[in-house]
Amino acid sequence: MHSSIGQVVIYVIPAMVLAWFGWLAWRDRRDPANAGRQGFVARNGWPVAGFLVIAVGFWTIFMIVLPLFSMIDLSFRPKLPPPQWGGPKDFYTLDNYRYFLFGSTTSTAAWNVTHLTAFALTILTSIAITALDFVICYPIAYYMAKVARPNRLRLMMLMLIAPYWVNEILRAFAFRILFSSQGIINNVLMASGLIDQPVDFLAADVALYAGLAYAYLLMMMFALYNALDTLDGNLIEAARDLGAPWWHIHAFIAIPHAKPGIASGSTLVFMLTAGSLAAPLVLGGPRSLWFTPIVYDRFYQAFNWQQGAAYALILLVACVVFVLGVLRLFKLGLAEIAR
């Protein structure tokens, strides 16, 4: 299939969605049941109506939908020099995905072990880090929502936000100082006689995992806190009066109530971790495998944008699958978690 077809499809889909929106509005206007109601322009006045349509239209179409569509489109195209784009050789192909699987666009003899392991490791590590962040945050979030007095709560909130004023790269840098071979952790361990050679935490990826768990903790914390904050304290009292042990209160009352918070915290932490670029660059050892630096290198080392787009799309699909999986697991809708 020639690529010019895709170019048409990309623009036709948003146009059709807009037409659908227009048709819904037009049908409503014709509906005699709505005779007394005003139309969109009359309700807002034309200057505001114009502003709304232009701002939202430009945002959704030119900043969200079309860029995504063109990335998908590019990922199915062969690598060609720019003058040949749309030319006679520009046919859709699966070469870029084939390369991800087999490390070659022609042979399927061997798997592309480096990229496949990096991808699997990134996804599994991100899931593990998401779970770890939940375990770290839950006691604190519960304490803030249900136990702490207002003054203590305000102080804790401030102390939670303060470290995140430092940007992501500098936070990763702080972990690098901490874990480097002359760093304070090695110094303390050597001084106490536990080890006699400095441990290379960077090569062992310990620094990377500690830094990643740290990086997006706040997202999980606030998601959990917001959910637990709405839990009625009387329920906990009632359970305690009826003789429920402490873990019953958490397992059967608090955690089920916090489900939307757990889901939104998990999706955000997973997405940010799997897509993080700064921490792996700063904290990764020479042999660390993380997927986003590989995507980056497709663009700016290999200068193969088509392949880079395919790799980016694979990452995006993994994130979407994770979000859908979490929604299914917790039986929730998207609107409940994206708050």
Partner: protein, 294 residues
């Protein structure tokens, strides 16, 4: 000792450990900015120095990146605050059957990894500018503003949605009944009501833009911002000048936060005073009326 007090003691210990994890790395980094060795270390602390700050401010690339970051941050605020407001106002006006679809589209940038937003923006505008010949549009600053605004607008929209839920629509109707035009209602009622949300949305938009790396590193093309310069430096090696940068950023933000708190308190006092004056004036009016009647 009862089991409850054991629990609260354990909780206290856990909270201490947690905050040590949160602040420890940053405190260590902060201290390295004031120690003399060229490799960032706290122990042994050889001598106190401020030289690393001088090194930092003499760094031409960093200062160029800083100016660029501020410029991009301001532009992102100018784009994402109006767009987010429009997105929030549109939410209740989209047809009920299309609303969840609309919500999915405008919230999706929040749930998309930043690298993908950067990549897709560059890919789209490279093709579009090549087809249309609008070469000047394919520029690091423009693309970064577009890419960052696509998800920062979603942040600001969520802030505006929360505020709009508390908007009293009878105010709007009262103004219309009194003969105000639609544009007047928007300017004199809705915007003043949204002002606190506009303030916090601007602050969040600027900060998210300023510290963004994942999206920016793709969209900035050959240009550079403070954060991309920083990332480049870290790839080459570590120096205490970078710790000095972190200390400076924290100092600036803390000053900003204190200033913000101070202005908010002063505004609250001002509002109290105005309310008091108003009630006094009202009382005086009532007295005058009462005297007239007598």
């Amino acid at each position: 000792m009862s089991s409850r007090s054991v629990f609260s003691a354990l909780m206290g210990v856990y909270i201490l450990v947690f905050f040590a994890y949160l602040f420890g790395p940053l405190v260590v980094m902060g201290l390295t900015a004031f120690n003399t060795p060229a490799y960032p270390q706290v122990y042994p602390f050889e001598a106190f120095t401020l030289d690393w700050f001088a090194t930092l401010f003499a760094d031409a690339d960093m200062m160029y990146g800083l100016r660029k970051s501020v410029l991009i941050g301001v532009l992102v605020v100018l784009v994402s605050v109006p767009v987010g407001l429009a997105g929030a106002m549109m939410m209740t006006q989209v047809h009920a059957r299309a609303r969840s679809f609309y919500y999915l589209v405008v919230v999706s940038p929040v749930l998309t990894p930043g690298v993908i937003i950067g990549i897709s923006t560059v890919v789209f505008w490279r093709q579009t500018t090549q087809m249309t010949g609008l070469k000047f549009f394919y520029d690091g600053t423009v693309l970064t503003v577009l890419a960052q605004s696509s998800f920062i607008s979603a942040y600001t929209m969520l802030i505006f949605l929360a505020r709009l839920q508390r908007f009293d629509h009878t105010l709007e109707e009262a103004a219309l009944d009194l003969g105000a035009s639609r544009a007047q209602v928007f300017r004199n009622i809705l915007i003043p009501f949204m002002m606190p949300a506009i303030g916090s949305a601007s602050a969040i938009a600027f900060l998210s833009s300023f510290e963004n790396y994942n999206t920016t590193t793709f969209a900035i093309l050959a240009d550079k911002t403070l954060v991309t310069v920083l990332a480049g430096r870290l790839r080459q090696g570590t120096t205490p000048a970078l710790s000095a940068l972190a200390v400076t950023i924290v100092a600036v933000t803390v000053c900003g936060a204190i200033l913000y708190e101070y202005l908010k308190r002063r505004e609250a006092r001002e509002a109290d005073r105005r309310a008091l004056n108003a009630s006094r004036a009202e009382l005086a009016d009532l007295n005058a009326v009462a005297q007239d009647a007598a």
